[in-house]
């Protein structure tokens, strides 16, 4: 508990102490954690590897951009449009694709990620293609313009905290139990009346909505979006943060997001070799940390919880 209080005070103080560029990186940590939570959810509780999260991240970002700059709507409308479109898209695409499992499902989602990226590039009447869409307005909250990293930091992390709280509640619900049953003993779950396929599809939709939420926040934060931000490499970052953080824990995606955002930033001072060190770190983590960073943290704190 005391540790939690210390962490909270440190979190509050960071924008006041840290440099602008570090606060900027930490904003991305929160955005990645929100999108990555969706991926982590699918992986840790349903055993589904997805590489399509970049598509929903993109849908959220473009919806926010298009609705505010082209249609002149208020920002919340863009958020809702993005989440709505993502949910429908995830349901329509997810229903047939989630019949697959294992490697084949993973590669099907990777194919979806590639299709999404190509469409973001080609549909330039909607997305601006490689040129992108600029001039997306900053968010305004109770009359306060969120136009600096320091101000956006609090919003992004607040949204993350709310999403994590909802996530924890869901895991403890009846549906959460059904999900774990689905992961650990699919046949037994089916025998007990869990509709495996429908449940997977629902979680896929939920995951897409989270991706879209993060994408809309991203668009309003950087105020410019282009197809470069929604490539397969972004989907891979989301998956890796879920794996690195430990997909079965609630705090895992946050730790994973810290790793994939802060580590490249810290290593970039070493020059071009940072990409190599980062990739090597990933391989080591996959081999030696089956429970991710969260597992490591739990061991360090001397207590082990079953997810």
């Amino acid at each position: 508990m005391a540790l939690g209080a210390v962490a909270f005070i440190v979190w509050l103080a960071v924008p006041a102490i840290a440099s602008r560029s570090i606060v900027d990186v930490l904003v991305f940590t929160a955005l990645y954690a929100i999108a990555g939570l969706g991926v982590s959810f699918l992986l840790g509780h349903c055993g589904i590897v997805t590489l399509a999260q970049s598509v929903f991240y993109g849908v959220g970002a473009y919806s926010a951009a298009y609705c505010t700059t082209q249609l002149g709507w208020a920002a919340p409308a863009g958020f809702l449009a993005g989440m709505g479109i993502s949910a429908i898209l995830a349901a329509v695409v997810g229903w047939p694709v989630l019949r697959l499992s294992g490697y084949f499902l993973a590669l099907a989602t990777l194919a979806l990620g590639i299709i999404g990226h190509v469409l973001f590039l080609e549909w330039d009447w909607l997305t601006g293609g490689t040129l992108g869409i600029g001039g997306i307005p900053h968010l305004e909250l109770f009359g306060l313009m969120l136009n600096t990293p320091q101000r956006f930091y609090y919003l992004a992390w607040l949204v993350l905290a709310i999403v994590l709280w909802l996530h924890a509640n869901l895991l403890n619900s009846r549906t959460g139990v059904a999900m774990r049953a689905l992961r650990d003993a699919p046949t037994a779950a089916a025998a007990l009346g869990v509709d495996n396929h429908a449940l997977k599809a629902k979680v896929f939709v939920l995951s897409a909505v989270l991706g879209s939420l993060a994408g809309s926040l991203f668009a309003h934060y950087v105020s410019f979006v282009s197809a470069d931000s929604f490539g397969v490499d972004r989907a891979i970052s989301f998956l890796l943060l879920a794996v690195l953080g430990g997909a079965r824990t609630i705090i895992g995606p946050v730790l994973g997001a810290l790793f994939v955002t802060v580590m490249p930033h810290a290593l970039s001072t070493l020059g071009d070799i940072h990409a190599l060190l980062f990739a090597a770190g990933l391989v080591v983590a996959v081999i030696f940390l089956p429970d991710g960073l969260a597992g490591l943290l739990q061991r360090a704190l001397g207590r082990r919880e079953q997810a």
């Binding site: 294992g102 084949f104 590669l107 190509v118 080609e122 990409a275 990739a279 089956p290």
Partner: protein, 295 residues
């Protein structure tokens, strides 16, 4: 439709198809031997292509030797990946997903290493027959592309003979199909798995050497090659040695046909949609014998 244009696009599709087939062959070798989908198959090609480029341009070795060197380095990489990374994970009883993540991680590491040591430049190897083209009616095809098709077909035939007629090949299949049974009759199962990665790496490295005169060697080339190769292998059926070639050629022809009707950017959309649909509708591929595991 102009007939020459149609023929030209068919030839381009055929060439691309055999490129995908070569990557797919390596993928299916590793899948059949270890039940692992190797997400770094395209990186074997990157290593093979880059190694033969360095041998040729920096060390002045003759082209055939450089080509051989590229393939061998691909094979050595395969052995190292199996022995150093895959084996410890297998001992812990890793899941399908973790092998996928492992090979994906290694793919990044190799791509990043190539970026660090060789930079962002794209490189081309000289082809067999140089830049010369052959005319087929009015449509042109690179002489090198014809060689690529011939060599890929030969590799497929040799793999078939290897798996059906040699003791090592049969042992590799036995080790994969029934681990305990194979051990009982005296087959060294871990050795067979290492040999599987050696073979997969060799085929991948060779693919890189053959592809590099047609598409440039570049640190980012691996992932899309892997995916196209995977699509080829899935399309034909992962368990069948001819699958990758049949699937690759089909994919190549459909892609080049699609370019005639849609903007060229949609080429990858067409092939990825085909991949998804085939996996759902025809889980065992077009040649459809032998069960597929995991889907």
């Amino acid at each position: 439709m102009d007939l020459t244009l149609l023929l030209q696009s068919a030839l381009a599709g055929l060439t691309n198809g055999f490129v995908y087939a070569l990557i797919g062959l390596g993928l299916s070798v590793i899948f059949r031997g270890t039940r692992i989908i190797n997400a770094m198959q395209g990186e074997f090609a990157l290593i093979g292509g880059m190694a033969s480029y360095v041998l040729l341009e920096s060390l002045g070795v003759a082209l055939p030797v450089a080509a051989l060197g590229g393939a061998v380095l691909g094979g050595i990489t395969g052995v190292l990946v199996e022995a150093v990374l895959v084996r410890p994970m297998r001992r812990r009883g890793a899941s399908e997903e973790s092998y996928l993540l492992l090979t994906l991680g290694v793919a990044f590491a190799i791509s990043a290493a190539v970026l660090y040591f060789f930079g962002r430049d794209a490189r081309l190897l000289p082809g067999i027959g140089g830049e010369a083209s052959a005319l087929f009616f009015d449509a042109a095809i690179r002489v090198h592309a014809i060689w690529l098709i011939v060599i890929a077909s030969a590799v497929m035939a040799l793999l078939w003979l290897f798996y059906h007629r040699t003791v090592v090949g049969l042992s590799m299949m036995a080790a994969s199909v029934d681990e305990q049974g194979a051990t009982t009759v005296g087959i060294n199962v871990p050795l067979m798995r290492t040999l599987t990665f050696l073979l997969g790496g060799l085929v991948g490295g060779l693919a890189g050497v053959l592809v590099s005169p047609l598409i440039t060697i570049h640190y980012e080339m691996g992932l899309l090659l892997t995916l196209k190769g995977f699509a080829a292998a899935i399309l034909g059926g992962l368990a069948n040695p001819f699958g990758a070639v049949v699937g690759g050629v089909t994919l190549g022809l459909v892609e080049s046909g699609a370019v005639l009707y849609f903007a060229s950017g949609y080429k990858d959309v067409v092939s990825m949609v085909i991949l998804i649909v085939i996996m759902i509708v025809m889980p065992n591929g077009m040649l459809g014998r032998g069960a597929r595991k995991g889907g």
